[in-house]
Amino acid sequence: MKAIQVHNLGFFYKNVCVLDNVNADIETGKLTFILGKNGSGKSTFLRILAGLLPYQKGDIHILGNDNSKLNYTERSKIVGFLNQQHKAVFPFSVEEVVLTGRAGYVSYIPKEIDKQAAKLAIEKVGITHLANRNYTELSGGEQQLVMIARVLAQNPKVLLLDEPTSHLDFSNQAHLLSLLKKLANEGLTIVAVLHDPNLAFLYGDDFLFVRDKQVIRSATSADAWNVDFLKTIYHGNLEAIPYNGRALLVPYMN
């Protein structure tokens, strides 16, 4: 089953074509990673899916809904989105931050059911011990988990994440990706932009590559490990080092 269907998508930023004639399908209940060079348009693609950027051509269906026809409230019940980095200004408690994820369900003041949903999301991410702490006092890794709890509190069917590991250390990266994997196994469709192909191949079910204004799917998962293919994606030198029956990708040094 397809969770997201993108058909002939075209996106221009100030008359410059960023994505052209993009066709892509994303499977339900899988962890899909989007890879590509900096500036290739992978974050743009994700933000378009999230309804944050209006596109000029083509159409996108998310679980059968035309994405351009959904308003913010309707979309929030289907799609959750996590920005690359979140900067907090006021020292809200973790509970208060997670509760703001319920905005689509709340008319003006959250009710008991919303507080329960927030509490459940906090438990699901495994940060109950942080619930009463100030968000601003947490480490980067903890803050990212809080933001994931926040987006889970809105009960999305599809979760979109923009470089969720970019500000995290090694162990936090692994912790976060294992959590995403677990959520996907429970039936959530997850699409994440990721910088590091090694991490992506380690955790992902499916891979999309953004190159030359196009979104390409690797024909088989073996392709993902194909160095020649990856060289065309990253326009550069990289090599695969065999390691325990897998391969580690490293930038090639002259």
Binding site: S76, A103, Y108, R150
Partner: protein, 317 residues
Amino acid sequence: MVSLFIGPSQAASPGDILKSLFNFISGNQATTENYTLLKSVVFDVRLPRILLTFITGGALAVSGCSIQAIFRNPLTDPYILGLSSGAAFGAALAMAFAFIPVQLSAFIFGLLAVGLSYFMARKNKSISIVSLILSGIIVSGIFTALLTVIQYVSDPFKLQSIVHWTMGNLHNANWSKLQSSIIPIAIGVSVLIIYRWRMNVLAMGDDEARTAGINPDKDKLIILVAATLASTSAVAVAGIIGLYGLIIPHMVRMMIGPDNRQSIPLNFLFGGTFLLIIDNFSRTISGFEIPIGVFTMLLGAPFFIYLMKKTNIGWGN
């Protein structure tokens, strides 16, 4: 309550007031010969002043808190958008040429200034804090320049009343001022109370608000209009009470934290009460009344610098 008993009138000592209040409540006929004088001091001078001071302080604090939340910057307040200089110009214009009531003119020009700043800063349907503050500075500059022109051409007597107005003028409070300001303040503050949790959502950032299901541009505009309505009405009757809308939200946040569900109502109560306390000082500390705007500005400036050093939050974020 205490404020009722304090004031420069020698004829009304706290004891006398208590006595007459007791008589009034217990239904006795006036026994003291100066009952009428007392009644006039308490009901026509002090009571409207107390109520006006309270709603003014409350309105400024709630508006300040809301504006800080929606622009995600704890160093903003309603005056930053040009409200105070617009209102001061409006008041001066009306005093110098007397074509419409001072209060109405201050109100109109206060709104006009905020409107100008807003539309100058608006781009692609959304609004950034940096451009808003810059256009606020420009608009303030224009109105301050125009105010100077009026002051320059005014006769000394009018000039004095203009200067008095800009320093905060709760001392000439009366029932009609209270009547004219209470409705717009009540409307503005009610809207802000209804939207108080939305401010938590908006404080997360625009993308975060959109993807969680609300339209931040629409909600910010509603909150900005309500905050402007409340604070401009307050400024129109009370003059410029400097930095008040900036400081009180901080004090409230220090007391109960940043959750606007609690802090918006508390800002109204605390903002009102605290301005009453300051006002009591300003009218009792010396033989003549020190303008309240001067008082809040002198208290507020060091506090603002302290906050700026402590929070590390620049205008850009």
